[in-house]
Amino acid sequence: MKAERFEGLAQAYGGDVGRWPLEERDAAAAVMAADPAWTGAVLARASVLDDALDAYRAPEATGVLAEAIAASAPRAGPRHWRTWLAPAGLGAGLAAACAAGVIAGVQWGPTLVPVPAPAVAGEADDVATAADDEDFNLFVDEDA
């Protein structure tokens, strides 16, 4: 590695060689062994900026935020029941039974009150937004 490259790496990645590209570290170590005074000065200069950057603390996650985010996740619901009932042929039967119950509730009297279906979290939203959301198309493997 030439001295110019060593300086360029310090300029880009800072004074900690452990943060440099893996494939360059051995060559950098050889340069450091050959000229410890010069390389030490280069790294020390870069480290001053590293230290200053580290003084900028990131905002910390509060428990309230973490709870709010966790609460925004869909819960296991009927969609998952369908998944494990279907192989036994129970899914269709259950659906038919529910449909019959709904019809009965509507047509045959007030004693059979249809129970509102629990929200299937995000199902319609999945379909609508996945097609629209550019983020889902960033990597070809997602839809491959």
Partner: protein, 179 residues
């Protein structure tokens, strides 16, 4: 090597509340750090984090590990959300120029980390967006050069160029701190 988040994502997709909490605990701090430093605004960073997780919930059932790791995908989602906000901010600023942030050292400036942090935040905010992105990804998020370059859609050489220019500009702005 498999994606370390695969197993957790599968449990999230199955609606496991403990997996949801574990994923939030694992990803939220880095997501907030990324958005906070890209935007320089803690409240906006929280909005970005919440929006990013909504996309995670939608994506989890469809997630298949492949060329992209989940963490890389999540970084890209968060960065896109940050860029949306930066764009809107610029549109507002164009219509109504804001006051310039005060980044000059005060008369009683000491060596306190808090003061240094504020000055670095201002210097980082003054960088062009792509230079700031490079510094945030490589220095703060500690991504490797190949992953950061891929995430930014540039070559490793271009990433190094962005980093070099960013660090020169930061040094110039923080010169009186001997940075």
């Amino acid at each position: 090597m498999g994606d370390p988040d695969d197993e957790l994502l599968a449990r999230v997709a199955a609606g496991d509340p403990s997996a949801v909490r574990a994923l939030v605990a694992r990803k939220l701090p880095r997501l907030l750090a990324l958005a906070g430093r890209m935007l320089g605004d803690a409240a906006a960073a929280e909005d970005v984090a919440q929006e990013a997780f909504l996309r995670v919930w939608r994506q989890a059932p469809k997630w298949r590990s492949g060329a992209a790791r989940f963490d890389t995908w999540l970084h890209r989602v968060a960065l896109n959300l940050c860029y949306d906000r930066l764009r809107k901010r610029r549109e507002v600023a164009y219509a109504e120029p804001p006051d310039q942030p005060d980044e000059a050292p005060g008369p009683e400036r000491g060596l306190e980390a808090e003061d240094t942090g504020r000055r670095v935040a201002a210097a980082l905010a003054a960088l062009p967006d792509r230079q700031r992105e490079a510094v945030v990804l490589c220095h703060y998020q500690e991504l490797g050069n190949i992953e950061a370059a891929r995430l930014m859609g540039v070559s490793v050489e271009a990433l190094e160029s962005l980093l070099g220019r960013a660090r020169r500009a930061l040094r110039a702005r923080l010169a009186d701190m001997r940075a």
